[in-house]
Symmetry: C2
Subunit: 318 residues, 2 copies
């Protein structure tokens, strides 16, 4: 009898005695409703499943993001599927398609590939999508990003204010929009202060700690007219720079983009341009949930400001 459904869904019009019997039987048989089957027939078609696609969870930036997203999802009755794109466009497309095939209600994506137009049909047919950290399909899809260029400008100005003229830059692959924006901020910051941009002080395409450490060592090697300060474009690269500078006799100023644990315990403590990863994850998820609740306003681009936290390493003078 399908009154069972009514009891288990706590619908009103059921006799108390019947409800009792049903519940007793459910417990005795260890009955567990099959959510997947339920969603199949329900009118709202929602699965209460969200998907998060990002790079490696081992990176504290992405794990903080995942944690924030999971928290908001869970508190709103959603379960979260996480999938790593391995920073590879094909893997990304694969996991996105797997998630769509599972009929997740919404997707939060740190985009890796350059063309996400294959998502448009899915979005049109009802899957909500928010891009986070890096914009994609702008104007068509909601995006939540940090003020990357502004943050980089503030770091460069901070170093210039402390007397530095030769500021090295360590950047990730410029194909990644955050890397590109921060590099742009580095250049704009110098230009705005009427300082030339010296490409020999710039190392791009660094994607891990070891590469950053090597590149940083290179920048610090010259004996005459050396780099006196380093601006590192993300948390991985900052760690690499810290390693390189630690083995250095002379003091070198350092500012890193992204805050990190222990930045305050290192000697000197590390000055950073901090972004609010938690707010980024929460904002993206709340935006997504609002879309799922029927919000049909035009796509927005939310830009979260960054904050320079002086701790010592960025205040070293040349």
């Amino acid at each position: 009898m399908k009154t069972v459904s009514r009891v288990l869904n706590a619908e009103p019009a059921v006799a108390v005695s019947t409800a009792e019997r049903v519940r007793e039987a459910a417990v005795r048989l260890g009955f567990q409703r099959n959510e997947a089957a339920a969603h199949l027939r329900r009118l709202d078609r929602s699965t209460r499943l969200l998907g998060l696609v990002s790079e490696d969870l081992r990176n504290p930036f992405y794990s903080a993001l995942a944690s924030a997203v999971e928290g908001v999802a869970r508190h709103n009755g959603y379960l979260l599927i996480v999938a790593s794109s391995d920073e590879n466009a094909d893997t990304e497309r694969g996991v996105l398609s797997a998630l769509i095939t599972r009929r997740v209600d919404g997707l939060i994506v740190v985009p890796t590939g350059t063309d996400h137009s294959f998502l448009i049909p899915e979005i049109d047919s009802g899957t909500a999508v928010v891009f986070v950290d890096r914009p994609a399909l702008a104007e068509q899809v909601d995006c939540v990003v940090a003020a990357n260029a502004d943050g980089a400008v503030s770091a460069v100005h901070h170093l210039l204010d402390h007397g530095h003229r030769r500021i090295g830059y360590l950047g990730d692959n410029p194909g990644i929009s955050t890397a590109q924006e921060r590099y742009r901020g580095y250049r704009d910051g110098l230009t705005a202060a009427r300082r030339p941009v010296d490409d020999s002080l710039v190392r791009l395409g660094l994607h891990d700690t070891a590469a950053a450490e090597d590149a940083c060592r290179e920048l610090l090697a010259p004996v005459d007219d050396p780099v006196t300060a380093i601006f590192a474009g993300n948390n991985r690269l900052t760690i690499g720079a810290v390693h390189a500078i630690a083995n250095q006799a002379r003091p070198v100023a350092l500012i890193g983009f992204d805050d990190f644990e222990l930045a305050d315990v290192l000697r000197p403590a590390v000055t950073v341009v901090a972004q609010d990863v938690d707010a980024m994850g929460r904002t993206a998820t709340e935006l997504l949930l609002r879309r799922l609740a029927g919000d049909r306003r035009p796509a927005t681009l939310v830009t979260l400001s960054t904050r320079l936290i002086p701790r010592g390493s960025g205040e070293i003078r040349p």
Copy 2:
């Protein structure tokens, strides 16, 4: 016509021309198979969904675990739902039941509550479960843990070997099995060396960095006969101890349980008892997949060894 199903599942017995027509139509209509519906009728009943329940993903230990689990899952065609238990037994039970209701094929759980017997019926009815980091329902369910007591013993002996007689201990809530085991190792290590255990040098129930920092400060405060070494029971507590010791005039030896990024850059670099989190996640997931593939052998307890990495802080003499 249900030949469509055959084409989309790449079954053999279909005319090439028919297959062509079907595929063309599928692309044109933007057809996406609904996996949930497919699983409903399939004989093997599998959803190709795995669930991971752990504490906060922000903790590098759990994010490394999640990353390892997700990687193995993805490479085997499974999607991973992650849910945080917030280190709360009720939340844990809630997310576990949500995952079971979704009919995940298998569950990897860092147990928080003390009684997981409510999972037994689910396990009996086919949901595979592996506990990781902390054992639960031992003998009945597979568990993958580190050699916590052994690791702690090795840390204590290392400090004793370096001349320390007053070794402070910072521990998490002893209700957590890892905390209990490490505390046991601390005591056993002293006892085996015929050294008394002095409870006034022990602080338990510390669950975050700030609490550990305060407790560590307390241990270091006495002017006469002070603690000369600290053994911190997990990554959070080590960070707290590093903070406390950094503000200290005299040198204090430190060994932390769990390795952490930058441990080698701090001055002194931090000696740790490292556990292989990646291997823990991979082993647990592979064990789970083997169960899903039909392995019916008795439940096993896999214990992964730890490794003491001397870096400087653990070799400071009193």
